[in-house]
Each structure stands twice: as C-alpha cells, then as structure tokens.
Amino acid sequence: MKKRVYLDYSATTPMKKEVLDEMLPFFNVQFGNPSSIHCFGRENKAAIDKSRTTIAKTLNAGVDEIFFTGGGSESDNWAIKGVASALKNKGKHIITTEIEHHAVLHTCQFLEKEGYDVTYLKVDKYGLIDIEELKAAIRPDTILITIMYANNEIGTLQPIKEIGKIAKENKIIFHTDAVQAYGNIEMDVNELGVDLMSLSAHKVYGPKGIGLLYIRKGTKIQPIIHGGAQERRRRAGTENVPAIVGFGKAAELAYENIEEHSSRLIYLRDKLINGLTEKIPFVHLNGHPTKRLPGNVNISIEFIEGESLLLMLDMVGVACSSGSACTSGSLDPSHVLMAIGLTHETAHGSLRLTIGDYTTEEDIDYVIENLPPIVERLRQMSPLYEKVKGGN
C-alpha cells in the first residue's frame, strides 16, 4: 500500500484501540439507559461516574464540576450563552479575541444581534493577546471573558493564568476553550483560575460527538439543552454511555505520560519546522516559536495557494490542512491568519501540519523530502512567482 502520513491531528484523531475496547460492551451488552433502575442501566451510572472521576483528576477539578455535552462546539455555545442568559440583568458585555474558534466567534456574533456588546481583542504577530488591552477592555457591565487556551490553527498558547487572575480580581466569569490544549499540556483548573472550560474527546484519541464543560462550583450559568434530569439537571438527553466511557479512557491515556508525549511531539515539531524552513525559500512559521502546542506546525508558503498544496500532498499520501478543518467549508482566508497580520495571499498559502501519537520520525522525513518539489511545481504555475524569479 501507498505510504499514508496523517498530519492532521488537530482536525481529529484516530480512536485508540484501548478506548474502543473499553466502549464496546456498552453498545449492546451493558446498553441500558443509565437513568433506569434495573441492572441493564444501573451499572452504567457507575461507568459514567468512573469516567467523570478520571477526567476530573486530569484537571484537578471536582467530580461534580464536569458536565458531558455533545462536543466542543456545544460546550462553547453553552458556556457563552449560558452565562449571558444567567447574568443578563447584571450586564451585557463580553470580552473575547479575534482568533477564537468559530464556535466561540459565531456565538458571540449571535449574541451581538441579541443586544449584547462584544469586545474582540486584537493579537500580535504571534497570536498573543496584550494583557494591558484586556485590562482596559473591562467595564462594569462585563459579565464574561472567553479566551481560548491554544489556538487550533497556529497553536499559540495564551497566558491563561494571568487572564484568570485578572478575571478573578474583577469578579468576571472566565471561560477558556481548551479543546486543543487538553491532552497536550498539563492543566489544573485551580492554578489556571478558570471558571468554565470546554473540552472535546475526538481531539485526544477519544470518540467524536462527546465533549464536556467544566463548571466551577457556584458559577452562574443557564442550561442550553432543556429536558430530562441528566447531568444533574444541567444538560438533558440520554447519556451517551459508550462515548463517555471512551472519553474517560482517552483522558486517562493522555495524562498517563503527558510529559513524554509532549516532549516527543515538540522534538518532531521542531524537526519539521526546521527542515521545511531550511529547504524551501520564502517560507515562514506562523504563531509563536515556543509558546505553541507541542504538535502544531503552521507555515506560510509564499506564491501558492493552500488547497492545491493539500491536493498534491494528498496524492503523495500526506494528510494535513490549510487553516482550520472546521472552516474549510468556506474558502475565505482564515480569520486567525489575517488577525496575526498576514496578507491575503500569504494567508491563502498556509499549511497546517499537526503531529500526534502515531507520527514517526520517518513521517517527518518523508514530508521534508516530498514537500519542496511540490512547492516548486506549484510555484512554476503561479503568476505571483514570476516577479520574484525575475528579480533574482
């Protein structure tokens, strides 16, 4: 078979075998509704609690502060709309950034139409917010700060701890979208000072369609899915037992040896960055050189467009993305790359290669070997490249 190199771990991850094995009995043997009293259902409550406990431990959170949802997007929507609705009589101002995931941005835009006021903090060329700007943006009617932990496109890590301190000083609820950070860096909700945190299992070798919202005890938030009494009356719907069990297992595996995992990824990441920037002219790294996700490589390759690059890479078996996978339905240049100051053409020529647990050193070598000729070929076709060559 043709070589296949998956470098799109930030889009989604394959489920680990151990995760699937753990889930299997819950599909058709121990399949009962956990709300039931009988033995098909009763034991499932325990399975859910076990998973909740495992995950809570990885976050240093209370077991009763973990609420399962249908994914990261639902968690983001819940955090933002839930606080907006609960505190609407206190204020209607929300602070976020220009580089959030669409699940946060579009939710904020929706709230703007509903009469809320949103400040979108700018970021510098590395994708970092300015703490002073954040402080200046706070108003008496600010009810929520929502700033992502790790950016899904360029991998930049925000100073969450500092933000948490400021939020606390000002008694403002602080939500962070940690979907990309979870499983890749150590995190402690108390040290970080977050009140709400969104996670999604399919980014950490768990199943799709399951996420969670961490809700610090005492945080004022309304449900967004009303109905049955599940998740302690805060998120209705028959519990997705197999997925919850899988999420728990994935969390356990992710944090079993997080340091080793992370340093391995950083090694491969830096090798790839160095290899590509050395071998290909007119290439530069997007995001911060060190304050970035262990597995994230995002480069701009001048004079060519991302989709054709992806197609050519796909033909040699390399799977990656150009901007966020979630945004590729639209071909507008990524809002994140525009926010860090790239021109339209440079933004269009960006490539995101994200490394994960099954990536080998040979995979990295393979990409370093195969990408340069593809770039050269596409540049030969590009009218934007002419001038540069002419100038040479």
Partner: protein
C-alpha cells in the same frame, strides 16, 4: 470531491507557462479570494495558435485554466469569446457548487486577454460590450451556494 477529469487537469495541467511577446495577455481574480489567473495568447489571422496560463489558486482554478486553454486553442477569437463557464465546467465533468466561480474566472481570463488584444489592435467585439477587465468577477460566494436554503 473533484471529478477524475478535474484531477487529471490539476495534476497534469496543459499549457502551463508564459508566451514571450504574446499578442494578448489578461489577468483576472484577486488574492483576497485566493485565485489569480493569467493568460497569454498567440494570435495569427484571428486564430489562437498558442495559449499558456499561470494560475495561483485551488485545484479547480488550475484545472479550469487548463481546460479553458485547451478549449480555445486553434479556435478563432470570436469562438473563444463565446466560451462559457458552464462549457468549461461540463468539459471537466462538473465542479462542486462551491467551485463554480473558478469556471467563471476561466471564462473571464479568456475575455480579459482578448480585451487586451482588442485594445492593442483597436478592434471591436460585441461580445466584450460592457466587459471590464479590472472588475471583480469573483462574486465572493464561495461555499455559500448550497449552504443555506
């Protein structure tokens, strides 16, 4: 996502390159939308005897450029002006709805080159009535055509 024909024209694009001392050169698109097509024509006795292109853009932008150049090669200028974006798309066995704008761009690239030819040689073509090569022909509708109903 793409038909085999599209992939073929993307991976083995015909007529890539430049023509030195071309009789006509046209460029359309803009970097904002991520597609730029530049077309070079060699014209003898009103017939397009050679054509080359350079494209910055996605797979279907490259494929439609390639197909459009194939379709006008050997044709008269008049015939080339009648090339429609639908014809290009059909010749490629169709394009995804979100990529139809690439075929529009290819049609406009041909028109733009011939417009340049007309200007240089002081010719009039009724097919170019109202055509403005600097207009933004790309309607910024990527990805929206079938997204809402």
């Amino acid at each position: 996502m793409y038909s085999e024909k599209v992939m073929d024209h993307f991976t083995n694009p015909r007529n890539v390159g430049e023509i030195e001392n071309a009789d006509a050169v046209g460029q359309v698109g803009n970097v904002k939308c991520g597609d730029i097509m530049k077309m070079y024509l060699k014209i003898e006795n009103d017939t397009i005897v050679d054509v080359k292109f350079k494209t910055f853009g996605c797979g279907s932008a490259i494929a439609t450029s390639s197909m459009a150049t194939e379709m006008i090669k050997g044709k008269t200028v008049k015939e080339a002006l009648n090339l429609s974006n639908r014809a290009v798309a059909e010749a490629l066995d169709g394009l995804p709805p979100v990529k139809m704008h690439c075929s529009v761009l290819a049609e406009q690239a041909v028109k733009s080159a011939i417009y340049n030819y007309a200007q240089k040689n002081d010719l009039y073509f009724e097919e170019l009535e109202g055509f403005n090569p600097d207009e933004d022909h790309d309607h910024h509708d990527h990805g929206h055509e079938d997204e809402e109903h």
